[in-house]
Amino acid sequence: MQALFTSDQEMIADTASRMAKGGLARARALLNGASPEGSPDGQLIEGWSALGVPEAQGGSAGMVEAALLVQALGEAGEPGGFLTHFQSVHALAGAGLADRLLGSGARATLVDEHGVGAARKSALVVERTGTRWRLREAAGWEAVRSIDPARLAGRVTPGSVIAEGEDRGHGLERVQVLLAAEACGVGRGAIRIAAAYATTREQFGKPIGVYQAISHRLAHATADLEAAWSLTLHAAWALEGAPELAVKAARMAKAAAGTAAIYACEACVQTHGGMGITREADPHLYLKRAFAIDAAWGRAAALNREIGSALLSS
């Protein structure tokens, strides 16, 4: 049992937090139709796209590092296009094709079965058909409305196929673990701003965080997030250290993290009282992000059924 972070891993989390500083402000800018300032996207894509990808495909470090990076971005509320690019790389890693994308120097968007992804412009897209991943050119884009207004979403007109292959290396699970890590971060960010608000906002002559009706809801959310984070780290480790566990571990992590993040964000809205239900305050930025993450690549509701069903038939 050596389930501990190395100092290098702790440094990645710190560096990512620093780079993503101002993430909520950038999310708000996007919401207001402005262009966000100080986006770390370029720096992230340049320096971190290969994190956690197997070395044979041009990667470095491991999935725990990748999860720590994404968790920190989620906590900061970072809205940029790095995450979908990073997911694209890891999806392709399952098919042994990550180096094709990494080597191209181009940005990619991971799109769902409707061709929709979390970007409105990228030269390349990655899509899944059956159990295969496919890297193709994007012939054109149209904007679509997303539940998460602080993250651009678009539908691609697919262009010619560059590469494709069978997902023999847990590409889907890699994507699920990255989303789970982001969800844990989003939930943690929501609880952080809720706790800060509960410490300063006063009613009946006291900061509202003194009241257990407030603090215990946030503690409940924290416990669920911690459980989800442990599952996420375990799944990240399993992808490299125990591949036979990866499918179940990734499902559990994604389901638990999606559920915990939504609960944490709801708790954040409730803690903010009337301000929580406005677009002027920040809680909705996290709440909508949490739903967008839960809906991507395996909803908690569906994954829970799959987990239960697998246990009953084994």
Binding site: V210, Y211, L218, L233, G241, A301, L312
Partner: protein, 381 residues
């Protein structure tokens, strides 16, 4: 990050497993409470005889001199095999280590060997009818009379008191001082206590109430300084929390395994709602396992475990309550005619599980700890 045993831990686990398999061959839990206690006494003696009684105790005190992780691994393997609870679990896990920290040489020599052997069984006289979550508000009075303390009061929820010879007893020695600063800890004989078993909602009598009237305890049996009993209590509570991480997970897994079996037998494995609920519960049980490994890894590296350790107790209580309730409400537990007696495994386990969110720190206390120590919210009391 590695969630597997190190080679050294794996070797220890294999050694423990082999010994347990042998020691538990043909063992079955007695159905009667008294007989189960006899099994616990025999198990303590067996553990002691073969050198498994004090895995984390220093060799100087008769232990193996290994760490908490080894202790946790042994407990995990024992619970997996449904081994009996050793009768002196409180003595070995809580009282002994606390005497090692706070005791005089005389006390160490006098008590530690008899704890490991099970010759002297210990109970923990902490909670009172008027002092539960607010433990420091305890009122059991100890007055100094020459070389002795004269003790009067009541203690409650005392496991094993009816089998114990000794009690680690928190008493109020200075009623005028602030509540944390007027407590002293005494090592008392239970001989003169009046002990009444409490019948629990599932019919078992696991806990006792103790009435202490004019009981004399020599001052030489005081553990720690006068009016400095609170730090001693804190030491005990720390040991109480760290030893359980991996065992809790196994208890939850066993209840989950029963649920899976019950659903299969009911022919409802295709029920999507049931599958979804099972999937969520299974993930929570798995989170206990992986969080437990993270906690033990931190302890092994002499680091303070992170926020995951506060979450584990809350989720453990909730998941066992949820699983047992689901089994009953979905009709998987059979007839409810046995509800309230020890007749049905599910109803018995459900009723016992109501205590999980109360014993060892209520859900409410755990949440306040998270709110204050993890989230930095202001104190509510």
């Amino acid at each position: 990050m590695d969630f597997r045993d190190t080679p050294e831990q794996a070797a220890f686990r294999a050694e423990a497993a082999a010994w347990l398999d042998e020691a538990l061959r043909g063992f079955a839990h007695a159905s009667d409470g008294k007989a189960r206690e006899e099994q616990s006494i025999a198990w303590q003696a067996r553990l002691h005889r073969d050198g498994w009684a004090g895995i984390a105790w220093p060799e100087a005190y008769g232990g193996r001199g290994l760490g908490h992780v080894h202790d946790a691994i042994f407990n995990e393997e024992a619970v997996k095999r449904d081994a009996p609870m050793p009768i002196n679990v409180i003595g070995v896990n809580l009282v002994g280590p606390t005497i090692m920290v706070h005791g005089t040489d005389e006390q160490k020599k006098r008590y530690l060997p008899r704890i490991l052997s099970g010759e002297e069984v210990w109970c923990q006289g902490f909670s009172e009818p008027g002092a539960g979550s607010d433990l420091a508000g305890l009122a059991t009075r100890a007055e100094r009379h020459g070389d002795e303390w004269l003790v009067n009061g009541r203690k409650i929820w005392t496991s094993w008191a009816h089998r114990a010879q000794k009690c680690i007893l928190l008493t109020r020695t200075d009623p005028a001082a602030p509540k944390h600063k007027g407590i002293s800890c005494l090592l008392a004989d239970t001989r003169d206590f009046e002990i009444r078993p409490i019948i629990m909602i599932n019919g078992d009598s696991e806990f006792n109430e103790m009435t202490i009237e004019n009981v004399r305890v020599p001052d030489a049996e005081r553990l720690g300084e006068i009016n400095a009993g609170w730090p001693v209590a804190t030491t005990v509570l720390t040991f109480e929390r760290s030893g359980a991480a991996l065992m809790l997970q196994v208890m939850a897994q066993q209840v989950l395994d029963r649920l899976i079996e019950a659903i299969r037998q009911s022919g409802r494995s295709d029920d999507p709602l049931l599958c979804a609920q099972l999937g969520k519960l299974a993930s929570e049980v798995e989170s206990l396992r992986v969080s437990g490994i993270r906690i033990m890894s931190a302890l092994a590296a002499h680091r303070e475990p992170g926020a995951e350790s506060s979450a584990v107790k809350l989720i453990w209580a909730r998941v066992i309550q949820d699983i047992t309730r689901l089994a009953i409400q979905e009709g998987l537990a059979g007839s409810l005619d046995d509800l309230g007696t020890s007749g049905s495994w599910w109803t018995d386990r459900y009723l016992r599980a109501r205590a999980h969110s109360i014993e060892g720190g209520t859900d409410e206390v755990q949440k306040s700890i998270i709110a204050e120590r993890v989230l930095g919210l202001p104190r509510s009391r």
